[in-house]
Point group: C2
Chain length 181, copies 2
Amino acid sequence: MSLDGFIAGPNVSSKEPMGEGGERLHDWLFKTKTEMDARVVAETFESSGAVIVGGRTYKIAIHDAWGGISPFDSTAFVLTHHVPNEKVKGFVYITTGIDEILSEAKKQAGIKNVWIMGGANIIQQFIKSKLVDEMQITLVNVLLGDGVRLFDHIDIGQIELERTRIIESAGVTHIRFRVVK
Amino acid sequence: MSLDGFIAGPNVSSKEPMGEGGERLHDWLFKTKTEMDARVVAETFESSGAVIVGGRTYKIAIHDAWGGISPFDSTAFVLTHHVPNEKVKGFVYITTGIDEILSEAKKQAGIKNVWIMGGANIIQQFIKSKLVDEMQITLVNVLLGDGVRLFDHIDIGQIELERTRIIESAGVTHIRFRVVK
């Protein structure tokens, strides 16, 4: 997330899955990755026993941009209105809603975490439904100016957080919060 | 600033200068202040040789809410369309624009910093005009949900930042950035 709250640039498309200029938010991952960044990423993958992905992110970022190969170690559950004809190994398609997808993902994850990967819309749905336990924010040293906001449309009043970890890396700050319930 | 980017709640007024629910953002200052928080605040005051305040913030937060007594150690310059009839000691009123107010504030500040205190609108004007050298963000462990965004309407493309300091305190994280020019 940029300091001004964007996790993608404007006009997200299959050609530009991070939106216009949004690739800047991935520089820490693909251009300037430190050993510490790599560890944080590995930790996220290893601690997750299941992944949840929104339908649009699946279509744009995985199916079109990543050539239909799952980047995840564990099963990814896709919340979508339409189960695609062309199914991809490693993905399970759920059409019923966030409660059902979470229930399926939890069964799969066992004692491990369920990683709600994105996009913004599905994360917002989970936050609004108070189903998020922890948030791992990668704060990027940039003002993006425009794009898709991570925290938007969450009109349920204040949500208290507890900061549980900060890791300072070269181009980003990894901050982890626990949601106080 | 809350994690979702708000520096005040919605409906800022003289009665509620931090907006509805916005006082939560000042808990670190008035309720749970640590020695480290106090040091960061003292540093801001002591390192500033002049302060710049927007007209609305002056009217609502200083004139009405603080009973017209300047909370600043150094002269505060107020950008306003209308110089008030009732002038307050410690304030200078400027009607011409951000270049002129900065020029006057710099003369006053000498070798010290000019502190652009807020509100959001005047900070955004200064960011857009590339006149900001450093940003000191107090990131509060809360999602506010609604209110006045610090970083909004800054439609000049990406602005690179360098994170120069992080201080972890109890309820907030003080993060300082240098604007890369």
